[in-house]
Symmetry: C2
Subunit: 421 residues, 2 copies
């Protein structure tokens, strides 16, 4: 660790600062020690690192899932490093087989150009595109001849390729792997060689491909890049990776009101992951929000409002953020609750079974009717669907009981009153 | 079968003649019907077929094993067809992995050129090199770019490649297959496309590669070549395929006396295979020799003399064939028998144990000495080594008993005599 040991006190502090910030939220850094050394060298020699992100221009719609890597690039920019964006216009003609059960259809030149342009416009909302190096890999890959292809291929074993998860699965299940697909990682590595990249970013599903760059660089006698793997973020369904094809995404180009509304619909368990990886809150702010959520000072719904607001602000500015917040509140109000509803005043706060509560309020004629309605998802307390007929409700002031689409009752509890219905 | 059905009576006869001659000795023709159709088309349109043989210029020493394919090429020439010899100077830089347990070392340009020259000189002894089209596949393969490589590769599945015997075995036994090796069949097929070959010849171990040409030609919308697979011939050991590395070969460039002597050493079981595949005897002559061997009119040794004579004549001319035949006879005589030896005249034919026989002739002092000598391989009857001390000898007139290197006795049996020593 040549450079790490040569730093002055100030420089060492800068190293720790950058290392902490740039490591934050990564799933893995391979190898971690080399990453520290690269940063140390950059600080010592006052030379920015070259940080590569390869883009397969098959999906022109950028979504919040992409901000995981875009935010990381932005942090690198803010630390003074140089971003290398590679549009895989050559590779795009093959299509990345990663995670696919079948080979992708190749893109035409025109599609590739159009998709690349769309990427740039949308990326510009998050990173400083003026400070970015832009490359199209056709620039060098189209000049590679058969002889060089064979030389590259001669360093790669078929068994190594078949270790890649998706290839392995396809081979095992007799689904075709076309020979050209083996060249995707080779080409991606060749790009790293051509650009002498120091760092390559990728999602965890890109681990095989981005690590391959180290092998190709070594083949050419070059210093090997360090790989930063970033987590994949689940979409609105909370289960599948966010992607256009799953229709569980928040598009960067969507209308502010849609961005706000979709953000409000993410499952509570994902709130912190979104804050950490996709938002532009600082590490300290995120950690504060986490604490407040944990100790109950911040309601999940309010956390989501902050997140949604920040997304719209980041993508469309403060005015639009304000407007979409107001719009959401209005729609939410209109959709969820009637403007006035019958109130039932209680003398005391009570805990009561859901079936008993509905019967007491005379909203349904029998216990079995109540149970049937719960089974059909037709009973809500403060908009939350009740699933279990054995649920006990701790009644509080202004609690709304909803049965079916139209019956609402607001419960009021007299101040200072004890328990009892 | 468009053309086959259009032939005149004369043409149909010509087709049958060519088909019989060119099919003779092949292991397989794929597909056989297309072969007839190609021949018919050639006869109907008076257009020679293009008959391709690809050469991987790694083994400059041509041997009698190569005459299997060279003789077939010669027959095609004699039927008026055009030979396309491809020197795989481009492919040779990869090396054909066929039948190899490991990837071959790539050749330098200089080695490739030298080896190609050696091939031509030696092939000229069998085929008419003036009537041959010569090609070096670097001419077109060096111009193939990455894009075209990927297009070719996109039509090939990894599973299909791993079906090839040697790849499959290497994959199963965790021996590395390098990615460039998958391109050997692709390149061989590309050659067929570039030359619009009608026929490709290959040994049975080349089946996968030569059949691949059909796929590549089809990819380019070309009429597919027909594949003629020729048997591999065993070398002097009678077991392994003849090859330089096994040192079981008769080299085309060897001295006439060596060619003659080595041919005389082939196992009797291989005589007819050599006659059929490697010699230039006509089909009728070969069939006559086969009959004579079967009914005992021709001694295997005499058949081998004819074969050896024909090899030397084919490669060095009639004078050298005569000389090497005389030389062989002289050496054989000198090495095997003294010009005169003591004779023992017997009154009767007898059957007698080998130990008893040697003792009776007083060639060794004790039974145990005789047994020891047999064990050491020192006792021969008519030049045949005796292995078992329990062997019974049926004595006939002029039988030679040999003990060690110098003791010989010729047994004479009086005419008309009965049994008894």
């Amino acid at each position: 660790m040549e450079y790490v040991d040569q730093l002055t006190g100030e420089q060492a502090k800068e190293l720790d600062k950058q290392y902490e910030r740039l490591s934050y939220g990564t799933e893995n850094i391979i190898p971690r020690e080399e990453f520290r050394e690269k940063l140390a060298k950059s600080i010592k020699l006052n030379r920015p690192l070259k940080v590569k992100l390869g883009l397969d221009p098959t999906a022109p719609d950028v979504h919040i899932g992409h901000t995981v890597v875009l935010n990381k690039l932005k942090q690198f920019q803010e630390c003074g490093h140089k971003i290398q964006l590679i549009i895989g216009d050559f590779t795009g003609k093959i299509g990345d087989p990663t995670g696919k059960a079948a080979a992708r259809k190749a893109l035409t030149d025109e599609e590739v150009r159009h998709n690349a342009k769309t990427y740039f416009e949308q990326f510009g909302k998050i990173i400083d595109m003026n400070a970015v190096e832009l490359h199209y890999n056709s620039q060098w890959l189209s000049k590679v001849g058969f002889t060089e292809v064979l030389q590259l291929a001669s360093q790669v074993t078929v068994a190594r390729m078949l270790e890649r998860n998706d290839f392995h699965q396809r081979y095992q299940t007799n689904k075709p792997i076309y020979l050209h697909e083996f060249f995707y990682p080779v080409m991606q590595g060749y790009d790293s060689h051509m650009l002498a990249s120091d760092i390559e970013l990728g999602g965890t599903d890109q681990e095989f491909n981005v690590l391959f760059g180290r092998q190709i660089q070594e083949q050419f006698g070059q210093e090997k890049q360090v790989v930063l793997l970033l987590p994949l973020i689940e979409g609105l369904d909370g289960v599948e990776k966010m992607s256009k094809s799953k229709n569980n995404y928040i598009g960067i180009d969507e209308h502010p009101n849609d961005i706000f509304g979709k953000t409000m619909s993410i499952p509570d368990e994902l709130i912190m992951k979104y804050f950490k990886l996709t938002s532009n809150f600082s590490i300290d702010e995120v950690s504060q929000i986490e604490t407040q959520l944990e100790n109950g000072c911040l309601h999940p719904k309010d956390a989501k409002v902050r997140l949604a607001y920040s997304f719209v602000e980041m993508l469309h500015g403060k005015d639009e953020a304000e407007k979409s917040k107001v719009h959401f509140a209005a729609v939410f109000q209109r959709n969820k609750m009637p403007d006035d509803m019958p109130e039932v005043i209680l003398d005391k706060q009570v805990s009561i079974g859901i079936v008993e509560l509905v019967r007491e309020l005379d909203l349904l004629p029998s216990n079995s009717e109540v149970r049937r309605m719960i089974k059909n998802g037709g009973i809500r307390i403060n908009q939350e669907k009740i699933i279990d007929p054995l649920t006990t409700i701790d009644i509080i002031d202004e609690m709304v009981v909803q049965v079916g689409k139209r019956k609402f009752v607001k419960l009021r509890v007299r101040k200072g009153s004890g328990k009892g219905i």
